[in-house]
């Protein structure tokens, strides 16, 4: 299929910045607005934009379907695993304080890991939903 040249070039130009913005929203969520949920949606939006303007094959190359589908349960496992790690270290489920020698630092670390879990699940779910719709429409 032939895709519009302007759209293709434009998309490729802004693609890295969208990804960078997603990562910024993810890791700056501690200090400003944002977090795993929003960052996941932005990252998924990047893949969808690529698929819409440059074709599904290119999107499959940077975000293979097998990887994206595995991300869906992986994020939940990361989140729940953080809770179990809290139990194994002698505290309650999802208590982050034992992750570091300093309780506040442990909490900071725990929030980071948990947000990463949310990011993985949200990005994976939205991208693979899009893939599923496109596959069905073929």
């Amino acid at each position: 299929m032939n895709y519009d040249l302007v759209l293709r070039v434009g998309t490729k130009l802004i693609l890295p910045f969208i990804l960078l913005f997603a990562l910024y929203v993810q890791f700056h969520g501690d200090y400003g607005p944002g977090g795993g949920f929003q960052a996941g949606a932005i990252a998924a939006g990047m893949v969808i934009l690529l698929a819409v303007t440059c074709g599904l094959d290119l999107a499959h190359r940077i975000a293979p379907q097998s990887v994206v589908q595995r991300m869906v349960p992986l994020g939940v496992l990361v989140y729940a695993g953080t809770g179990v790690a809290g139990i194994l270290m002698g505290k309650n489920y999802l208590d982050y304080s034992p992750f570091s020698h300093n309780s506040a630092q442990g909490h900071e670390l725990g929030i980071l890991v948990v947000e990463a879990g949310v990011l993985i699940t949200v990005a994976g779910t939205m991208t693979s939903l899009f893939y599923a719709f496109v596959e069905r429409g073929r």
């Binding site: 939940v76 989140y79 939903l129 899009f130 596959e135």
Partner: protein, 176 residues
């Protein structure tokens, strides 16, 4: 001003027969709601609304339209009962709003329970200046785990539905 625009877009959605137009108008509606949320200082929620409501869900709706017909069917039932139900629900909601404290009251019940502790202790206990994040991922971390599981379950469900139907379609093709 924003609320007027919201009302205009809602009426446009109701009057629009082409589903494609409805999806685009719903996306505009999401952006307007995001602006309202920014005015209300709920930047995190506004960001979610803009990225999920206006961005990803619009794309998914368009992808759905790719699979089904794009014009709304003519109405077959009478319109009186739905009108009555929605007016009744609206009346009950307005009636319920009468007992809520006025908007922005600092001594409302919800601001007196645990919120002051979160605001005062968040940086000391978690090193995270954005209280929204620390409440979401730490104080209320079980809720967020539940939300993530909901996303997981919903995603898996939709994927299974789409995939199963596809396989059955292929078998029918082979038989005929």
């Amino acid at each position: 001003m924003l609320l007027t625009l919201l009302a205009v877009v809602t009426i446009a959605i109701v009057r629009q027969r082409s589903l494609f137009g409805v999806v685009i108008l719903a996306s505009i509606y999401s952006f307007l709601i995001a602006s309202v949320l920014i005015v209300l200082d709920a930047v995190d929620v506004a960001m979610t609304e803009a990225s999920v409501g206006a961005g990803v869900s619009t794309v998914l709706m368009l992808a759905t339209l790719h699979l089904v017909k794009t014009t709304e069917m003519k109405q077959v039932r009478a319109r009186l009962l739905p009108l009555f139900v929605s007016l009744g629900t609206g009346a009950v909601l307005v009636w319920g709003m009468q007992v809520l404290p006025p908007f922005g009251t600092p001594d409302a019940a919800i601001h007196k329970h645990v919120a002051p502790r979160y605001l005062a202790e968040s940086i000391k206990e978690t090193n995270v200046p954005n209280v929204v994040t620390s409440v979401l991922a730490d104080y209320r971390s079980f809720d967020t785990l539940g939300e993530t599981t909901v996303i997981f379950t919903a995603g898996i469900g939709v994927m299974l539905l789409l995939r199963k139907a596809r396989r059955r379609g292929r078998r029918d093709d082979a038989e005929t």
